[in-house]
Subunit: 448 residues, 2 copies
């Protein structure tokens, strides 16, 4: 086979960068489990009719067919393009075996046949977090899921040195209640136009609200004023009140959002911003909506988004409302790693290379490695009984911090060399400890 080339839109990591991805997923899934979310994994394919009918995404589906399928009409399957659709199907299929509210996380690959570009891939990894109820789901779960997501990002910050986040939250009820208070009936249309604020600017948004929806110039101004409110605490409530618009739905939205901001600030101050311009593109959100940016890496866009949807699934008898978060793992990590911002301290799990004196004594080296492994120290035996200088260079090239010598000597004692410092000292495989930061590869920000 000639040397293969990468496939555009299908990113793969080198081993060291894969360690970064593994550690990020380990931190996040650890937090999800601490918050009582269990893992599920769904098959990669769904019947096309389950995937279809979502408008814009339709054309991006990858169809899957057996190479020598006898009949074109059988096996109309496609690869899933998100983890929400398969989760909804899983909930309906297994509802009788699940306890509600059901809390799950799911880390899997998804596929979209989009044109590849920076931060947009054809194959990418998502980590989804959802709580789904049967018939009803308390509003407090919106706060709960935000706290779990924030806790995850906070640990990426404290444990791996990732940037802090700014989570921008809003509530559809707040915006919709406000528009209703203004006398607008087609509130989704207002949301759609206001959502273009970043792209077309306030003048054009105001103009469209007037020309397309027949709002008065004053009402359009009020909509813009609402979208301009952005506070890191609950003072947004006063600023909305000051606009003089009232409705029951607005009151409900204000109460929900201020409780969420209060609770988030109690857990980790300064990460959440009530941003009343956030609408989220997808139509199925019905309450809280969230977006998350990494401080200093805003150009990546939102790396974790979600919201409340009152109708995640429906089997004709029951409705399953949910609230969820989707972490764009590849979307966040591929650019961060490609920019060289984060890396692993070494590209291998191995902590110790046990040197081999000669092929006859390889068994003794294996025994040393076995003893070290039994104590949780990842070890491998040198591939060749080369001169020690060459074995040290092999460890160095692989990024292994320690080389063990003298396994063939009498007694348990050998010597271990820290090849980063050059220090060498007598050591017993039954008791020796590597430096704490050398036991496993560390993930760290790369100095600029």
């Amino acid at each position: 086979m000639p040397r293969p080339k990468p496939l555009s839109g299908f990113p793969e990591f080198l081993p060291g960068d894969r360690i970064v991805e593994q550690r990020v997923l380990e931190v996040l899934t650890g937090v999800f489990e601490l918050h009582g979310f269990g893992s599920i994994a769904t098959r990669a394919v769904e019947p096309l009719e389950v995937l279809a009918g979502k408008g814009e995404i339709d054309k991006e589906v990858y169809v899957v067919r057996r190479l020598h399928a006898e009949d074109e009409s059988t096996d109309r399957l496609g690869l899933h393009y998100d983890l929400t659709v398969p989760f909804a199907r899983y909930v309906l299929e297994n509802a009788g075996h699940l306890q509600f509210p059901f809390r799950r996380y799911q880390v899997q690959t998804v596929w979209r046949g989009e044109r590849p570009q920076e931060g947009r891939y054809r194959e990418f990894t998502q980590a989804d977090l959802d709580i789904v109820g049967a018939d009803t789901l308390g509003d407090h779960h919106d706060t709960e899921i935000v706290l779990a997501a924030l806790d995850g990002f906070e640990r990426l910050h404290t444990e791996l040195g990732f940037p802090t986040v700014v989570m921008r939250v809003n509530n559809r009820k707040l915006s919709e209640g406000f528009y209703r208070g203004l006398g607008v009936t087609d509130t989704p249309a207002v949301l759609r136009i206001v959502d273009k604020l970043d792209k077309i600017g306030p003048e054009k948004v105001a103009a469209q609200l007037v020309s397309e929806l027949g709002l008065s110039a004053e009402a359009a101004g009020q909509c813009l004023a609402l979208a301009g409110i952005r506070t890191a605490d609950e003072t947004f409530v006063d600023r909305v009140r000051a606009l003089g618009v009232t409705s029951d739905l607005l009151d409900e939205g204000l109460a929900l959002l201020s409780e969420l901001v209060r609770a988030a600030n109690a857990l980790v101050p300064g990460r959440v911003v009530a941003d009343l311009s956030i609408a989220r593109g997808l139509d199925y959100y019905t309450g809280t909506v969230f977006e998350t940016e990494l401080a200093g890496l805003e150009s990546l866009g939102s790396v974790a988004s979600g919201g409340r949807y009152d109708q995640l699934a429906n089997d004709g008898k029951r409705t399953y409302p949910g609230v969820g978060f989707s972490f764009g793992i590849s979307r966040m990590l591929v650019p961060m790693i490609n920019k060289g911002l984060y890396g692993a301290s070494r590209p291998v799990p191995t902590c110790v290379l046990v040197a081999v004196d000669d092929e006859e004594s390889r068994g003794r080296a294996v025994e040393v490695a076995t003893q070290l492994r039994a104590r949780g120290i990842a070890s491998e035996v040198a591939p060749k009984a080369d001169k020690f200088g060459k074995q040290i260079r092999h460890a160095d090239r692989r990024g292994i911090p320690y080389v063990w010598f003298g396994s063939a000597g009498s007694g348990a004692a050998g010597e271990v060399k820290d090849i980063r410092t050059g220090e060498q000292a007598p050591a017993d495989p039954a008791t020796w400890q590597p430096a704490p930061d050398a036991v496993r590869p560390q993930v760290r920000a790369t100095p600029a």
Copy 2:
């Protein structure tokens, strides 16, 4: 959506069973890393020309195409049907960035469009372990990879109560050297016929060796005698010698296999059997071959197989020889779980449900849960401020072992009830510890 039905051949686990799968993968990948294997993940698709040309597997490939692709000829991609082909491609593509011998493990889904049956799925998870060299790869790596695989199974046995394994090993050089010593030239043809021993029996094998390959009745008898040798230690060498056949390649094969059996017995006595009938179907194995059965679950077939292939990949300039093992995770776990042999002690990660006195004091319950989580105790807050009896029943249905009360009381102290025993005692979220076996769900054999 009406209630969906499972897709035949695409198994999915309920949350409790998924915990079994997670724990199995955690144990195995932990062992792989202790042995110095790093993780890689490859994309799910490969160009069809990379996947094609493997004869029998050809027809089982799933082709992947964008639903609205303009041009049939673009994107000729298929889902990978194993992890060896993508690994070989990854090695060629990234050879300049890898250090050889390169040691990797890879846990991913693979797809085959076969007819689904017990133990055969269209989508399943494999865990592969390989060492690959550039140009050369020492024979001792065959032993090394067997020790790593055995260590993995041994920990599944001691940590999760899985059955012990019987690993059956052979070496192609031994068989081939023996056949050459008998004067046979078409040794692969002999291997192919002897490989049918289990299916057609010794008489028919002997008859085919005579009629199809022209062997003498005596030589055919010698081939059968070789295939009948099965020893748990190195005595197979004497039994082969007693057949009176000699060749240099036979000597080499005997030396390699006896070293492997010796080393494996030194690590874990009694798990490895030299079984000179093992051939393995695939043509690319050139040395050691292995198969693994679970004791008492032999009907599952081999759950981990592999061997040495002198030509894993070749880019025209360099050859990359390898030795590897593939663990059939789904193949092993789906039947074991469906038969009800193994399960998790609870279907959720949650250790504590913090009860809620009333909605006004929910924030206090969240604080207790936050304190417990900070100490590594997975906790969730009750979804509704129902009567305590109802909240306890909710914990019971979800399988959560502890319920925390009194979070709204003054001071830090509350009370915690072990709902398995009914015991209730005062507890402080800053110091309380659950029973060690209740911190995480345990995987265990289900009593018959």
